[in-house]
């Protein structure tokens, strides 16, 4: 079937089987390898993308749902410079290790968290990162990194 949608801000058209997963479309048809194929059951968080403004596992999104949708992948996120940008997340949360299998999943989850809340508390941070499995960096180190980002975020100056 022919599908029109917006990918990282640009309109595109593809041909795909209705049940082909978004992760397969991204990696095999569009050669975008930022989202990784992991468990295939929505557990590991390595295939996270933003779908119509909400964070989803691209392994659970079929092609037929893409019609008219807006998708943001890790590649599209790198171009966005609002706080915290991808470089900042890599530096503070992943200890500078961008090339880990889980890096892009962590970046997507953290970016989405800051889109939803400017100054998330620890409970919210833990909830947002529940589905992220990164053995290299470790869950607690990731959470501490996000807390550093929260404290580093510039607060608006209060008017007297």
């Amino acid at each position: 079937m022919r599908i029109d949608f917006t990918l990282n801000g640009r309109g595109i058209t593809i041909d795909a089987d209705p049940l082909e997963t978004l992760i397969d479309i991204l990696r095999e048809k569009l050669e975008l390898h930022g989202a990784k194929r992991g468990c295939g059951i929505g557990e590991c968080g390595s295939c996270l993308v933003i779908f119509n403004g909400v964070i989803v596992n691209s392994c659970l999104i079929p092609a037929f749902r893409l019609e008219g949708s807006e998708i943001l992948t890790p590649e599209g996120l790198k171009e966005k410079k609002d706080f915290p940008d991808a470089d900042m997340i890599v530096r503070e949360v992943l200890g500078g290790r961008r090339e880990l299998f889980c890096s892009n999943g962590v970046i997507m989850a953290v970016k989405n968290l800051f889109t939803e809340q400017s100054f998330p508390d620890e409970k919210t941070i833990r909830e947002a990162l529940k589905g992220i499995d990164c053995r290299e960096v470790g869950k607690e180190n990731i959470i501490e990194g996000v807390k550093r980002l929260v404290s580093a975020r510039p607060r608006r100056r209060q008017l007297p």
Binding site: M1, D17, P18, L19, E20, T21, D24, G40, I41, G42, E43, G45, L48, F51, V54, I55, V56, N57, C59, L60, I61, P62, F64, R65, A109, E127, A128, K130, G131
Partner: protein, 305 residues
Amino acid sequence: MSEVNVYKPENLRELISVYNSQPGSILFAGGTRVMLDVNTSGLGKGYSGKSKGVLQNASNVLISLEKVDELKRIIRRERYLEIGSAVTLQQIAGIGSRVVPAVLHRAISGVGYKSVRSTATLGGGLCTASLDYPPLTALVSLEARIEIRGKARSRWVPVEDFIVEEGVTQLAVNEILTRIRIPYGNWNVQYFRSTGVKGSPSFPLVNVSILARLSKNTLEDIRIAVGGESIGIIRNRKLEMFLVGMRLPLSLNDHNDFYRRLGDFLALAEERDTETQLKNRYVTSTMRKMLMNFIDNLILMEIVG
């Protein structure tokens, strides 16, 4: 099922009409369950291997619910909250536990991760008919009812009766779950806990949902629902009636009496199926601990999130 046809009806009437004209078609709400089956059978890439799960006996027709607005509404009335069957779990969680009863809010927050809850729907979860689905136990304690629509008629059934057995619902051919209605109650204590691991043979998932109304240390009303794959969903009105009117903390005699009655109630669950007796022994001992802990600490609780 290598070639799949997708229908996208735009309202409930059209949905019912299409569903009736396409026997064996699959309703696709959030699609988390369908996509699990797709991923494990390789159907997504046009692979014509053996289909699994919900796709096993299905036709090659999918009906997407994404454009049916009637199924995506949340309506708050004075006496109840009504949730469309295609509302996602994350949308419900996002409303907050002041509007959504705390037990349901907590049960939903425990389903998968946020990225899964963003696509999974409450109606879809109920229709997969898993007895250990946490929101199911919460909905049973809340005495929720669900609307089932067919071509000619609609009916309301208690959620307690919706799942006949693991994997089987009351839905007749071409009937659709459309709404879940949750009555508000004047509960000042709400308690929900899940323990165990889904699918584990040794430590299966167990859910306990309790609502209580306390006034001046007297238990005015209480509902207790427990659920798990091997024991089903259980509510014991006799046990609830025994507790109603009790002053807290329980006297030693009442405490011992409650412990004995709880033991009798749980023994029934344990013996339900001899093949799963060992598994159920773990389940019932866990439930006993959770329920005793709840009763012992009830006086200290206000609202438990």
